[in-house]
């Protein structure tokens, strides 16, 4: 019955099949093969990535929970912990954007409340093909509606994120969702099954045939037949999840619970085996007790279904009635489907007859681990070669042309305001949102304390394509810098590593390099990784996305009312640049938008300088010495300054130094204005506070200088005394504010 075709359909290699037979001491039946195939899929087993992920730093005095549980957690004082994680839902979102994105939100929320934390915020990191390319608008609109539909309904604010556009994502958009919650540190609950004889409960939506082999789907490339995989995408029900959330949090207040896990990828299979494995126990269930939405479902289908909004609980014997009563209150039915055993086996029965029997170990700890071959792509040499002299622009700079270039960059969809998008997300529910979307990192106050949490997700995938190691370092540094700009000290990070097919040595090289870079940046900035997710096989028709290691960083502000945003606060403040620019244009937004090329090497990054800069800005915010802070990254200093003016109704008059990166002044000006040198922050301060700001910077070893003043209605930037940019703020704001919105409103009209 199990032949080569069946194995191929399950994504199981002949070698792997041989190992399965070894573990069982016999041939598996089809149900067992299905269980192995999902647990050993890339998505669940991390078989290609594990050897690299092991090298990431995961420890620190603040870490309450590192990788390996449903989510990570860091101590935020007052006996509380911030529980957070990021996850991808790329493949489902490409096939069915609304439901794919919605269920991505649902999945990550379950990971957070499963830990005993009440979710308080969501972020997302989205990537699409060029906005004007066919199909992109439909995808973007669907994904945004799906995120909104789920998050708004369940009542968790979406407080920030990033959205970027690049042709490399045309056939493979990325939808990464981050969720954060708050738990009493002493009440954190884990996904363990222990205590022989303790009952195993199933709660939530009924099981249907949806999502069967979703995990396997996420472990293969796409081609023109991918639309046929639509039945493997699940449908979300945020109301059901809201009931589950409230009921589970209520059950967690009792002493009745041993462990709990959501049924996400690989559904019932993954939750039973992982809980058993963590608790060093076995789990025995009878699938005939599992509530079913359809008739005639086989054990194979029930075990592999990825129907949404389901939880698995291990309850203390004797507390059954208490647990059942709470779920009853929320109109949910908790059904006993089995119990914890001592023999370390996953045993699946159907009306009493054993239909699958597998050692838990074989499915989890003993799952295959590959050290796949890596090879630096030969094409990288060419990509890294950037000849600025060859850029087709005039030699003599003139203000009108430079103004136009700035307007062009401000209107590029990756840079432009995302208001049309975040306005669709309820970003204020729960009344904690201190810094609104579009104003910098998301900042949420922690009720019952003076503190707030700041959070940001970032990645510049052009950098990662040109140098995955350095690019990943930038991703962590930028996310942490954004959090620091809000005034918060970074505490921990979560990552979502989106890459192509790991079986290709060039992709695996990118992956290995990126993890190495990420690890070194985490160590240098003392920010441990507390969990995350890997999404491989992001390829369509053999074309991979840029390597995209998205990093989410969470930081703590002891005083919520000292949080900073990007906007200038009013006129007559001094504008201070912390850090130095060197005119680095490699991989820049300028090159991509103005010249249509992704070339060169990313800006250099000195992690010691970065650390000093971040410590400085956190101290300045805490001492209330600065009134706004904005990270200088995509689009360089000119874009950062413009963004400081936008929504503020105040202009800026700025003088900066020139840089020399080429023989032509136009290119040198571009370097000064649009170069993306790292470790820079634009702050504004009352004139009377400037001496203190500069003294602090000197003490911290961070270069700092007053580059101008706020005020008036114009954005004027002079380079070495010569005016380079001179625009009405309103004129500069127009393309930035309307680039995305206009493309959609025109469609409706």
């Amino acid at each position: 019955m199990i032949d080569a075709t069946v194995l191929e359909r399950h994504g199981v290699t002949p070698d792997e099949y041989h190992r399965i037979v070894g573990f069982l001491g016999r041939e598996p039946n089809i149900t067992e093969l299905g269980i192995f195939s999902v647990m050993w899929s890339e998505h669940c087993s991390y078989k290609s990535s594990r050897v690299h992920l092991r090298t990431l730093p995961t420890e620190g005095p603040q870490v309450v929970q590192g990788p390996g549980e449903n989510a990570g957690a860091v101590d935020i004082g007052n006996g509380l912990a911030a529980v957070f994680k990021i996850e991808s839902h790329n493949h489902p979102s490409f096939i069915e954007p609304y439901q794919g994105a919605a269920t991505g939100v649902g999945g990550i929320i379950r990971d957070i409340f499963t830990m005993g934390a009440r979710p308080i915020g969501l972020l997302n990191s989205l990537r699409f093909g060029a906005l004007d390319a066919p199909g992109t608008k439909r995808l973007l609109e669907g994904v945004v509606a799906g995120i909104a539909g789920y998050g708004n309904s369940i009542g968790i604010p979406t407080v920030g994120g990033e959205v970027a556009f690049d042709p490399c994502y045309a056939g493979n958009p990325l939808v990464n969702v981050f969720c954060i919650g708050i738990a009493k540190t002493s009440d954190i609950i884990k996904g363990v099954a222990s205590g022989v004889g303790n009952p195993v409960y199933y709660v939530g939506a009924k099981t249907g045939r949806d999502g069967i082999h979703g995990a396997t789907m996420a472990s293969a490339e796409f081609d023109e037949r991918s639309a046929e995989k639509r039945p493997a995408v699940q449908v979300g029900d945020p109301f059901m999840e809201k009931l589950l959330l409230e009921a589970c949090l209520e059950v967690m207040q009792t002493d009745a619970l041993i462990g709990i896990q959501d049924m996400g990828a690989a559904g019932l299979t993954c939750s039973t085996t992982e809980m058993g494995s963590r608790g060093g126990a076995g789990v025995e269930i009878d699938v005939s007790h599992v509530p079913q939405r359809e008739t005639g479902m086989t054990p194979y289908e029930i075990m592999l279904s990825e129907s949404q909004e389901r939880m698995l609980l291990v309850v203390k014997k004797g507390c059954e009635a208490e647990v059942e009563r709470i779920f009853e209150k929320w109109d949910l039915h908790a059904v006993r489907i089995g119990e914890v055993t001592a023999d370390g086996m996953l045993r699946v029965k159907e009306r009493g007859a054993v239909v699958a029997e597998i050692p838990n170990r074989a499915l989890t700890d003993e799952a295959p681990v590959y050290r796949r071959p890596t090879e630096r792509p030969a094409s990288l040499e060419t990509a890294q070669t950037l000849d600025l002299e060859a850029l087709p622009i005039a030699s003599a700079p003139d203000v009108a042309t430079t103004n136009r270039v700035l307007l062009l960059i401000l209107g590029s969809p990756s840079i432009a305001s995302k208001r049309w998008i975040y306005r669709q997300y309820d970003h204020m529910v729960q009344t904690n949102t201190v810094v609104l979307p579009g104003m910098g990192a998301g900042v949420l106050r922690v009720k019952g304390t003076d503190a707030a949490l700041a959070m940001s997700v970032d990645c510049n995938s052009r950098y990662c394509y040109l140098d995955p190691r350095l690019g990943a370092m930038h991703a962590l540094a930028e996310a942490a810098r954004n959090v620091a700009c809000a005034g918060a000290r970074p505490l921990g990070a979560t990552n979502c590593l989106n890459f192509g097919n790991p079986e290709k040595p060039a992709i695996m090289w990118q992956f290995a390099q990126a993890v190495e870079g990420l690890g070194s940046a985490c160590r240098a900035l003392s920010i441990p990784i507390t969990g995350g997710n890997v999404s491989l096989y992001n390829e369509t028709d053999g074309k991979a996305i840029f390597p995209t290691p998205v990093v989410g960083v969470v930081g703590l502000l002891p005083h919520a009312d000292r949080a900073l945003g990007r906007r200038f606060v009013g006129p007559d403040d001094a504008i201070v640049l912390l850090g130095e620019g060197h005119g680095e244009l490699g991989g820049s937004e300028y090159l991509a938008t103005v010249h249509g090329i992704v070339k060169g090497t990313p800006p250099s990054l000195d992690l010691d300088k970065e650390r000093a800069l971040q410590t400085l800005i956190v101290g300045l915010a805490d001492s209330r010495l600065v009134r706004s802070a904005h990270d200088c990254s995509d689009g360089g200093l000119a874009v950062a300054l413009a963004e400081c003016c936008f929504d503020a109704r105040v202009g800026a008059d700025v003088q900066i130094d020139g840089v020399r990166v080429s023989s032509r002044d136009t290119i040198n000006d571009a370097g000064a204005l649009f170069g993306e040198s790292a470790s820079r922050i634009v702050v504004s301060a009352r004139a009377s506070d400037v001496p203190a700001v500069l003294a602090r910077a000197t003490a911290a070893g961070v270069p700092a200088r007053v580059i101008g003043n706020t005020g008036g209605g114009r954005l004027r930037i002079a380079i070495g005394g010569r005016t380079a940019v001179d625009l009405q703020v309103e004129e500069a704001e127009r393309p930035w504010a309307s680039a995305i919105a206009d493309r959609f409103t025109q469609r409706v009209a």
């Binding site: 009542g155 109301f239 409230e246 669709q424 309820d426 529910v429 729960q430 009344t431 106050r445 009720k447």
Partner: protein, 250 residues
């Protein structure tokens, strides 16, 4: 005094209203489960925002069958102050405590942002502390806030002065540019004829603390604290001041 905040299973602004009442106003508040049949000793009832029963059918369409609803109707019939916010407003419409209906937003998208509303009437328990014509900056967050009533109902609403809040520009101009969802006559909130039941789409509980960007919502919640403290049946005040325009209803 005690705020009774009704909790439907899909309510998601229940805790926000509770927080505003207890932590910001310093009053007592109780969460009232929708399966209860008594409001206990609530002096004012808040129907909070959210998606009461998932609202896959029509917003608020199922909530009117919740066991708590008869108690709320009786409370309102006695003249007790009731405020429906967002989904709470939708529920008041579906249960017939307020006239009219909600359509999807004109642009068919959920919309969350700070907006401006103008106080049109100050003789309701939720606006008595405001000045007539006062402009409040208060956030909205809804996909179905496009208030609709037919011409008859609308003219009755206007002649009875039942439109309490209208969307407006920052300077108080009521025009289409300031209308976020297509509501008729820029309606952001209305009251019943007795003036003790108010429904509004904007979220006053989200605008009660400086830390969150504004305190313009406080005037709405403080109004009802005053009304209850004044002891007078809020409906009495209303009847005397609006006698002239009172007309028979269906």
């Amino acid at each position: 005094m005690t705020f009774g905040v009704v909790v439907f299973p899909g309510s998601n602004c229940d805790h926000d209203a509770y927080h505003a009442a207890t932590q910001v106003l310093g009053e007592r508040a109780e969460l009232v489960w929708h399966k209860d049949t008594s409001l206990h000793d609530a002096d004012v009832v808040i129907l909070p925002g959210g998606f009461a029963h998932g609202d896959y059918l029509r917003t608020g369409a199922m909530a009117r069958f919740s066991p708590i609803m008869p108690a709320i109707k009786a409370f309102a019939d006695r003249g007790g102050p009731v405020l429906g916010i967002c989904n709470g407003f939708q529920i008041l419409l579906e249960s017939g405590l307020l006239p009219g209906a909600m359509l999807r937003n004109r642009e068919l998208k959920y919309r969350c942002e700070h907006l401006y509303i103008r106080v049109e009437q100050t003789d309701t328990p939720f606006s008595r502390r405001a000045q007539a014509g006062q402009v409040l900056r208060i956030p909205i967050g809804h996909g179905e806030g496009n208030y609709y009533a037919d011409a008859d109902v609308l003219s009755r609403l206007e002649s009875n002065r039942q439109v309490v809040f209208r969307y407006c520009s920052p300077s108080g101009q009521v025009d289409d540019a300031a209308n976020p969802n297509g509501s008729v006559h820029n309606v952001a909130g209305i009251c019943n004829q007795r003036r003790n039941v108010v429904g509004m789409m904007p979220h006053p509980e989200r605008a009660c603390e400086r830390l969150l960007g504004g305190t313009d919502g406080l005037v709405i919640l403080q109004s009802v604290v005053d009304a209850v403290a004044a002891g007078a049946n809020p409906a009495d005040v209303a009847t005397t001041s609006s006698t002239a325009s009172t007309s028979p209803t269906r």
